[in-house]
């Protein structure tokens, strides 16, 4: 076969730590980064927990970047991007960038408004942030942002893959970033969507999501047959429920369609999926909807493992699709599926195969990533081993 689109580099920072090794180890050991909030007026919200990137992690990032004038969001995005780029030596002139984010540098924006200091508004704009992050990384290609709520990450990766396939770009760095802010904590409180305790995806006692923050980056490139990569993208799809601006369609029809279309694009049967990296926010509606969508496609066969990473790292909003794709790469490399933290008792209408401890990932199978977001959008991505066949 000719060439395909592969992930050839990755970077990550979350509440679990900096870099993929640290994050993966924490994931396999069922660690959670959801802790008591500091630095925010928790009495204004309906929760006092969130998954914040630690000060220790931030100090390490600032030290490595050598520039502490950068905001939290900018520094995480640039650092994760650098890590992904470092895995290959590609001429940065030929690399384009897509920034995936819901609120970009909003924490910095609200701090600036609160303090009344005069400051340029430009860098709070996601499109401008994309260009500035690209400039920091010395990338010479195009730079723009994709902002599709919680599905941004997968939609950005899909966008990059399409651009590579049709020759609109030679290499593409997808960086996802979102940070905690008074704004999002207050907003999700207004929507009554936050759990007062750490989120429990798919569990019968689940009562809402936990917010998180972080950055993830994947470097996409055309990969020839016989060439190695961290993972090969096999299929993808994006759909819209067209029912409600925040709630998913109850039976998950839009997500089911996105799963089926991605499989059709890959030319695969559902049996080829060994692990589903779910959206799994921990709200009653989302997890229920996902169980319906999964059951519709994987119905009577042996169910693939399915986990949510949001019990470990919280809901990282626009960055989630990129961060969780990066965190799924070691599943292919180590052949282990990490446990779904926060899950004890099945709490969704359709039975799912949710592991409570690490389980072996069947070698040769693929991963299905899925994310759904406000605005009724659903996105799916199928990726498999990057070992040359």
């Amino acid at each position: 076969m000719g060439s395909g689109v592969g992930i050839v580099g990755a970077g990550i920072v979350t509440a679990l730590g900096v870099g993929l090794d640290q994050n993966w180890s924490a994931l396999v050991n069922a660690k959670s980064g959801i802790e008591t909030l500091t630095g925010f007026p928790a009495d204004h919200y309906i929760t006092d927990v969130a998954a914040a990137v630690s000060e220790r992690s931030m100090n390490m990032i600032y030290e490595e970047l050598g520039d502490d004038s950068l905001s939290r969001a900018y520094s995480m995005a640039i650092w994760a991007g650098q890590k992904a780029l470092a895995e290959r030596s590609i001429n940065p002139e030929k690399i384009s960038l897509i920034l995936s984010t819901a609120k970009a540098d909003f924490k910095e924006f609200e701090d600036t408004l609160n303090s009344g200091t005069q400051s340029s508004a430009r860098r709070f704009n996601p499109g401008v942030m994309a260009r500035e992050v690209a400039d920091h990384l010395n990338l010479g290609g195009r730079a723009f942002a994709v902002s599709n709520a919680c599905a941004s990450g997968l939609i950005a990766i899909i966008q990059g893959a399409r651009m590579l396939q049709r020759g609109s770009a030679e290499h593409l760095l997808v960086v996802g970033v979102d940070v905690l802010s008074d704004f999002v904590l207050k907003g999700f409180s207004c929507l009554q969507a936050l759990s007062p305790r750490p989120a429990r995806p798919f569990d019968e006692a689940r009562d809402g999501l936990s917010l998180g923050e972080g950055a993830g980056a994947v470097l996409l490139s055309s990969v020839d047959a016989g060439e190695a990569s961290r993972a090969m993208l096999r299929g993808w799809s994006a759909t819209n429920d067209a029912v409600h601006i925040t709630a998913p369609s109850r039976e998950g029809a839009g997500l089911q369609s996105a799963i089926s279309k991605a499989l059709a694009m890959a030319g695969h049967n559902p049996e080829t999926i060994g692990y589903i990296n779910a959206h799994g926010t921990g709200t009653r509606f989302n997890d229920e909807m996902e169980s319906h969508a999964v059951a519709s496609v994987f119905g009577d066969m042996e169910q693939p493992f399915i986990t949510s990473m949001k019990g470990n790292i919280g809901h990282t909003l626009g960055a989630a699709g990129v961060i969780e794709t990066v965190l799924s790469l070691p599943v292919l490399e180590e052949n282990i599926v990490p446990p779904s933290v926060g899950f004890e008792t099945m709490g969704v209408p359709k039975e799912l195969n949710v592991p409570r401890e690490p389980v072996p990932f069947p070698a040769g199978k693929n991963i299905l990533g899925m994310k759904s977001g406000f605005g009724g959008v659903n996105a799916t991505l199928i990726f498999g081993s990057g070992e040359p066949s």
Partner: protein
């Protein structure tokens, strides 16, 4: 029309943002959710805010709201019994 009932209809139109609707377009006994007025989950949250701001009633559990919001008639009876303002 009962004053409270007409007040609730006006309040719902104004607070929930149904600009072009007239109060007498809302049937007093028709369901508010699913059918009838066809309110959604965000409207439900906005109704909870309305009850707090206009009548001082706190709804702790949104599930409780489902029975209270069965119709304008049912809602007005609930407000009569529980209003703090």
């Amino acid at each position: 029309m009962d004053d409270l009932i007409s007040e609730l209809k006006v309040g719902i139109i104004k607070h929930l943002g149904f600009d072009d609707m007239e109060p007498d377009e809302i049937e007093t006994d028709a369901p508010l959710f699913e059918t009838g007025l066809g309110l959604d989950s965000i409207d439900a949250l906005e109704l909870v805010v309305l009850l707090k701001e206009s009548y001082g009633i706190e709804i702790k559990d949104i599930e409780e709201g489902k029975t209270i919001f069965a119709s304008i008639q049912v809602l007005s009876e609930f407000v009569k019994e529980n209003r703090q303002k």
